[in-house]
Symmetry: C2
Subunit: 432 residues, 2 copies
């Protein structure tokens, strides 16, 4: 029986989880592939003892020694971050090892360099675990929907952010309190910036757009807003309007140019994405042939992400056995067809908006705000003004008809320049 | 550039849809595979003219001539039914052609014979289009979740049935009226038996169980109940209890034995499957590593199913180009590991139940029913008795705690043997 030797860089949560999956499923994998997958070695920073189950696995601390092992077929990078992950992956590729990684930050920032090196060296780079944890999403884009022009991608791609919004919605608690609990439970990191500011979501959207459209994109091109300004009052008023607030990655394919943005969004209750709660992820995909597809599952977690990483290992194993390396191009489209494409300027986009103004308690404030919105062509669909905040200020919530981003920006700047508002205006987009 | 020649048997809805997808996506497929896929010929019953877009496609009426074409790489069977589809597929396999089919009835009834013939002749059989239309479900089981023991499958697998239940729920209309409208709109066939009696769902569940568990199963082993007895009153009372009624395919993997059944089920409102409405399909999969996954999408339709069929064609094309035919075994598990497994006897299953008795309007009827249930160890959680039917009879609705199927069967037989019930008792299972 053919043996495929795997080396893992990093033995943290996902590294350990992947090792567990490979061990637990070793017989099943043989029944499915005819091969035996063996975890041969791990590269870690300092010598340590692995759990009893992995006592036969070599623990290596010298990267050169690790990469020089001629028996390793596949090297799995699971340390995250840009360096030394990037150097390690390039070193593995140079040593003609296939690579599997779940490193979304690295792939979204330096993916092209890595994929080009892999193509030059005839090895594969699997990255199913980099987006949406255990959901077989990358394979769906690259293979299952191969005969579709992808018209749109809507995703809840960050489990931490979705957990926080779900808890705020269910328990009526403020952002900071829920974040603290999430940190205590291990759902959020000590520095939650990437998760709550939408940066992690933007990284993942960049990866999905690359394989969906066959394009180069830098995550800095993605307009990104987080969820730190959202308060329970917004969640409750959104509910009154029939919506749930979700941090969405949104991309629409207009052919010549494509939308790419991440922001909290009011999603209609009737949409399946509105029902995705807790640390789960979901992606809604519209294909020109297939229509609407949705994939839902755990966005993170030791064994869930381990399952996705192991699926890549099985995939590459099947290719090695059949001499079919790079049977599917890493980015689905062949390298010569990957092109840069224009990103639709945010200012040109149109959608209905939700505004929450915090104002002084003077007569005529609503009239002033409504007047300014009107002069910028922004038509009001509903207004809610009730009660006072603890500090005596007044929240005025306005839901608009479809309006243009550029007009909204101008109107809000004009309103905030007056001395009638006393806090930053909350501006949320409504999904239609 | 390598050309892959495709022949399609049948040019009806799905056959025409597949042809449309291949034509619309020809450039995209080349960008993804480096090959050109050409629809070379179609086999139809009688000479006919194809639409203008397909004027270069050969129209063949002689099967022997069609299968003898040495240039055909892949033959796609899209006529449905057992014969002549089976003979044609076996003929194609004998001629060493790869086969793609969306024929769930044939695969669930005679799949093993077909897959064995394919293995013997070294060709592939793709069947992504056979279950859940456009959803890339088969690939998810065979590849994306390859490193998981599948613990359970819960599926809404019949678009017609789900459309009818959704319309009944939304509009409060009786089954027969909704069915008639569905037939007029083309959502249901003139003979709807397969769809509304759960037979089509059982066929699809058999296919999914085969690839999920690596087992042989005959659809006749699947306990199957349809939706024809469900009335608006059941849908409304289920709603009062916090449930939606869905026709579910259910399988749970107990290792030595596996559950396999199709029946209308009360699904809690909070479950994503409860939100799947209209002609859509969805499958909830629990893997031992990944946890809970759900896939949602169009269960049927010309281009949606065409997208799935075309994905199989692309998959096989990628294998042909790389000399990697049968890179993934047709049933995911290698043929030598496919085994028969015991089906859990229905009588042993346990779940909460919903009963609607139609009774005469006499004192003591509820006491009699409750007494019989109690003697069989069936504990009542809630009772609703209100009003009269048009005919003066009384509906009594009971929701039970978890009860055993065997006890329920005995209790209902005893109750129905008395002259207090005036119509067949509606018995629905509640999903927990």
């Amino acid at each position: 029986m053919r043996t495929i030797n795997v080396g893992i860089i990093g033995f943290g949560t996902v590294g350990g989880g992947t090792a567990e999956v490979l061990l637990a499923q070793v017989e099943r994998i043989t029944k499915r592939t005819g091969a035996r997958i063996v975890l041969k070695s791990v590269l870690v920073r300092s010598k340590r003892q692995l759990p009893e189950d992995f006592k036969d696995v070599q623990v290596v601390v010298d990267p050169d020694l690790f990469f020089a092992d001629p028996e390793l077929d596949i090297i799995v990078e699971l340390i995250g971050g840009i360096e030394p992950a990037k150097t390690y992956i390039l070193q593995a590729i140079k040593a003609k090892k296939h690579v599997v990684t779940a490193n979304k930050a690295l792939l979204s920032e330096c993916g092209m360099e890595i994929f080009e090196a892999a193509a030059k060296n005839g090895v594969e780079v699997g990255f199913e675990g980099s987006v949406a944890g255990g959901i077989p999403l990358i394979k769906t884009f690259k293979e299952g929907l191969a005969t579709n022009k992808i018209k749109s991608i809507l995703g809840i791609l960050n489990g931490t952010g979705n957990y926080i919004l779900s808890e705020m919605s269910e328990k009526g608690l403020p952002f900071k309190e829920v974040l603290q609990t999430a940190q205590e439970l291990g759902y959020a990191e000590a520095d939650p910036t990437y998760d709550v500011e939408g940066i992690d979501t933007a990284h993942k959207l960049a990866i999905l757009m690359t394989i969906a459209y066959g394009m180069k994109i830098d995550p800095s091109q993605i307009s990104t807003e987080g969820i730190t300004d959202i308060e329970p009052i917004d969640i409750n008023l959104a509910k009154e309007f029939g919506y749930r607030i979700k941090l969405l990655a949104i991309s629409r394919n207009h052919g010549e140019h494509v939308e790419a943005r991440v922001h909290p969004t009011l999603v209609p209750e009737s949409h399946l994405l509105a029902a995705v709660n807790g640390p789960f992820n979901a992606v809604h995909i519209e294909g020109d042939m297939v229509g609407d597809i949705l994939l839902y599952g755990p966005g993170a977690g030791k064994l869930a992400t381990g399952s996705a990483v192991a699926a890549d290992i099985v995939d590459i194993t099947r290719n090695i056995i059949h001499g079919a390396e790079n049977r599917v191009s890493s980015l689905s489209y062949l390298p010569e067809y990957i092109e840069p494409r224009a990103i639709t300027p945010l200012a040109e986009l149109e959608c209905p908006f939700y505004f929450r103004f915090t104002t002084v308690d003077h007569p005529g404030v609503l009239a002033t705000i409504a007047g300014i919105l009107g002069r910028h062509g922004i038509s009001i669909e509903a207004v809610i003004q009730k009660g006072y905040l603890d500090n005596g200020h007044v929240p005025i919530v306005i839901r608009t008809h479809t309006a243009c981003e550029a007009d909204v920006a101008k109107a809000l700047a004009e309103i905030e320049a007056l001395d009638i508002t006393t806090a930053k205006t909350v501006k949320l987009r409504i999904f239609v």
